[in-house]
């Protein structure tokens, strides 16, 4: 009799736990994607900020509605938190985000049009290869010192051009072996000159400017010291910033707290110094799930939502204290790529089996694969409908997107036609054979652990097997995959993703130039730089070079349109889709003007709280 009671007790307790799991899984799967598919809504942007002079100080005046001072906003970053607070050392997104909050650049980007606009600079002028930058009289660092041409020249000459910290900015500015020059004209004027007109340079001017009086001693101590300068161990009080906020506290693995910079140079229409918010807190959270829980628990105010969470939050939006914004497709591109390499490694062996080379290097084969892939289905099933099918090399929100390149639906018939053109045949069982009678069979890699790419891999495998190919899908560990892609080059097909910039295609130089460090589909290692190239590779090289040297937007667009057309026809990358960014933010925050180019909190100084 007693035993019976214990058995029931155990069962009941187990049952309770099971109940907790079952309950959570059910309703989510039943939801359809339709409720979320609202289009990017129309945002009523305020007029651009303009310069006004008060008591001899040239402020930048926000034209957004006037708000209330006080309060704080809680945001979050996923991962380990910032690795450095030195804007010139940062190599990861989170560190860059932190330095962007603290240090303003000369120029910034218009959220609506994507054009460069003055920020720390009062105005800028471009004459061919000369850039004249006028600074704001009386704009101050957070410690009260004036921001002058000396700071700008010091930043560019002594930090960037002299190769301190992460030298990627510097390396991308070398034209014909020479760096641009920077010169102080007077206390508030600086002149930059490039050897030739070089369009991407204007975007580089949004690089943060460093306070000379703080950074100079560090620079004098050499590059090794500079690498540890302003690391995460630095006392927050020593930071001197030009941005809307300055560092208050960094608690490792928990949060970064910023407080308002009392000397900020942006004012509102009542001529009161911004920002409105007293504090900005970034919580450091380990993963997506924890971030969602923190948002639900009310600990953070703004979050990027993904997958099934979007539907869940959208459903509750009406009765909640947050609003969900659809920012449109992001700069991420998911693609399938084949290894077009026809070279031999140091041991005299081909990186890619010559039989497979003959398939991958055949444009008809690539087009066949392209037509076989069902992008819409993937968007619906993998991205929960939160993605846009992608056919172009530039991302969908890019201002350089070639809109003439039309999307097309999946077509197995077309795919088979292309295969027949190149002499592929099918045997009785429906297996695909090439001209010489070899079975078409290859490996498809992606990085294990990335559930999205793994799901894409499974669907790509199915789609390609409909054509009679045999695809061995092998998710491998991320590091192993990177090693394959950039060192050993022993891969056939891969599903990868890269992020680009919606404003400047030249950032993709390392991927598209035939000698680039990330020219994955035909990676040339050291010693192979002068090997044979496809004609279209040479054409893309030309378009990229010309596109960087042209100055007017229209002219540049022509070259970049052309490179996108070549990529669209030759399919070195078979693009699949771009995810859509969905952001939720509490409704108490006003002056929110979301933009697909710059996100939702780019105008931190204008955001205020109104309950």
């Amino acid at each position: 009799m007693k035993k019976w009671v214990y058995v029931v007790l155990v069962l009941v307790i187990c049952g309770l736990f099971l109940k907790a799991c079952v309950h959570r899984d059910y309703p989510e799967t039943e939801k359809t994607h339709t409720s979320v598919q609202n289009d990017v809504e129309y945002v009523n942007f305020p007029p651009s900020q303009k310069t006004v002079t008060i008591n001899g100080v040239e402020y930048l005046q926000s034209q957004a509605p006037i708000g209330k001072f006080g309060g704080e906003i809680h945001a979050s970053t996923i991962g380990e938190g910032p690795k450095t607070f030195n804007p010139f050392n940062s190599k990861d997104n989170i560190s860059s985000l932190m330095s962007d909050v603290m240090y303003d650049g000369l120029l910034s980007t218009d959220a609506q049009t994507g054009e460069p606009i003055p920020k720390l600079a009062k105005s800028f002028e471009v004459n061919g290869n000369n850039y004249i930058i006028k600074l704001r009289k009386g704009a101050k660092w957070s410690d009260g010192k004036e921001i002058t041409a000396d700071d700008v020249v010091f930043t560019w000459q002594n930090i960037i051009f002299d190769g301190y910290g992460n030298t990627s900015t510097r390396d991308s500015l070398v034209i014909d072996g020479q760096l641009p020059t920077v010169q102080k004209i007077d206390k508030y004027t600086v002149k930059f000159s490039t050897i030739k007109p070089f369009a991407p340079f204007i975007r580089m001017l949004s690089t943060p400017i460093a306070p000379k009086h703080i950074f100079e001693p560090a620079v004098k101590k050499g590059k090794d010291y500079f690498y540890t300068f302003l690391s995460t161990n630095t006392d927050p009080k020593t930071f001197v910033t030009s941005g809307a906020f300055r560092l208050k506290e960094y608690v490792p693995a928990q949060r970064v707290v910023f407080e308002r910079n009392p000397n900020y140079y942006i004012i509102n229409k009542n001529n009161q110094k911004l920002p409105y918010l007293d504090r900005l807190v970034y919580f450091i959270v380990g993963d997506l799930n924890n971030e969602v829980l923190k948002f639900e628990g009310g600990e953070i105010d703004v979050i990027n939502l993904q997958g099934a969470n979007v539907a869940r939050f959208k459903e509750r939006e009406a009765h909640s204290d947050y609003k969900i914004y659809n920012l449109g497709p992001n700069t991420g591109t998911m693609f399938l790529s084949m290894n077009l390499n026809d070279r031999k490694n140091k041991d005299g062996k081909f990186y890619v089996n010559p039989i497979k080379q003959s398939w991958f290097r055949d444009v008809n084969f690539r087009l066949a694969c392209d037509y076989a892939i069902d992008r819409k289905n993937m968007v619906l099933n993998i991205a929960n409908g939160l993605g846009e099918p992608l056919y172009t090399a530039e991302s969908l929100n890019s201002i350089f997107l070639n809109k003439k390149l039309e999307p097309y639906p999946k077509s197995t018939e077309k795919a088979k036609e292309y295969l027949k053109k190149s002499g592929f045949v099918w045997d009785k069982k429906g297996h695909l054979l090439d001209k010489s009678g070899n079975h078409v069979e290859f490996d498809l890699f992606t990085n294990a652990g990335n559930t999205e790419r793994e799901a894409i891999g499974v669907m790509v495998k199915q789609d390609l097997e409909d054509l009679g190919m045999k695809v061995n899908f092998k998710p491998v560990e991320f590091n192993t995959l990177v090693n394959k892609l950039v060192n050993t080059l022993d891969w056939d097909m891969v599903i990868m993703g890269l992020t680009g910039s919606p404003l400047e295609p030249n950032g993709g130089k390392n991927v598209w130039m035939s000698d680039g460090t990330l020219h994955m589909f035909n990676q040339r290692l050291e010693g192979d730089e002068n090997s044979r190239r496809f004609d279209w590779e040479k054409e893309i090289d030309e378009m990229y070079t010309k596109g960087a040297l042209a100055t007017s937007f229209e002219e540049r667009k022509k070259y970049y349109d052309e490179y996108q057309r070549i990529a669209y026809e030759q399919k070195p990358f078979i693009y699949i889709y771009s995810p859509i960014i969905i952001t939720a933010i509490r409704t108490k925050f006003k002056n929110i003007f979301p933009s697909s180019l710059t996100g939702i909190t780019y105008n931190l100084e204008e955001i205020y709280i109104d309950k």
Binding site: K2, Y6, L9, V10, I13, F17, A20, E72, E80, K83, T84, N89, K91, D92, N166, T167, S168, D171, S172, Y227, T228, S231, T232, N233, E249, V251, P252, A253, Q254, R255, V257, V281, F283, I284, V285, G286, N290, L293, K294, E296, G297, G298, E299, E477, F478, N479, V482, N483, L485, V486, M496, L498, T499, G500, G507, K509, N510, V511, T517, L518
Partner: protein, 326 residues
Amino acid sequence: MQILIYILKRILQSIPLLIIVSILSFFIIRLSPVDPLAELRLNPSVSKETLQKETERLGLDKPIIVQYGKWASSFLRGDLGITSNGEQVSTKLKERIPNTLLLAVVVIFMTWIVGVPLGVLAALKWKSPLDRVLTVLTSIGMAIPSFFFAVLLLLFAVKTGWFPVGGLTSSNFAEMSFGGKIWDLVHHLVLPVTVLFTISLASLQRQMRANLLDVLDSDYVKFAKAKGLSEFKVVYKHALRNAINPMITLLGFEFAGLLSGAALTEYVFQYPGLGRLILEAVLRSDINLVMASLMMGAIMLILGNLIADILLIITDPRIRVKGGAA
């Protein structure tokens, strides 16, 4: 005096052990295919020159033997080196050690305060309903995976809003009064402590119960009872003292676990402890940080065993005699 010689012997014995541990772990980490620069390599905006400089800075261009030699010589000089982000490993560890210690000490203290008496109680009331209920409860405690339990509690915190969702301090911690700070810490600690407490309580309680049952069944206890000693004296003066010996060895292991942290629980609760730091370091092959934590773990284990053995010498005269003879 004898004890001092014994301690010295033990320390000398542990040196080769530490060397072997360090060599093994260093080579295993370096020979694994984890490339600390993999993320950078796939970033289109990072230039070839930057990658080259990073490789040199981290010493990845040198043979593993040379890398190990460099690490070992600076380790002996007391310098733990820098992390792959350029921060001092020692500062990095110092940031986290107090947090992990806080969690571990609270948990160990609570489990012992609750677990040992419960074990004694269960043994004394052997086969009574109380014992049965305790057995069922501890079985459940042992059976729930810590990860799962932690997630459940986290969901509970979100739904009720009674507890903060992870972390150790609130964002306005710096401005709180002393009392407020303590309350804030307690508030954040409740859930992670509950998870770890539930799980370690079970094994401790059962261990204690089994030990005491063994001892209670032995002849000398029966003899003492037959002699007419009071139940209280038999149990608390004679039986308990003998039953506690294995627990001391257990305490030695717990000491070793003080700093190795409960990585899974820390991860779920976003607790800023060592476990999470080391997990992240291993994932990106941050060699100096991983090595420092592994060596720390090894040293703590040796120390923990040493302390347990010394405590045993003190509590158990039999060992003292044997130790003296050897």
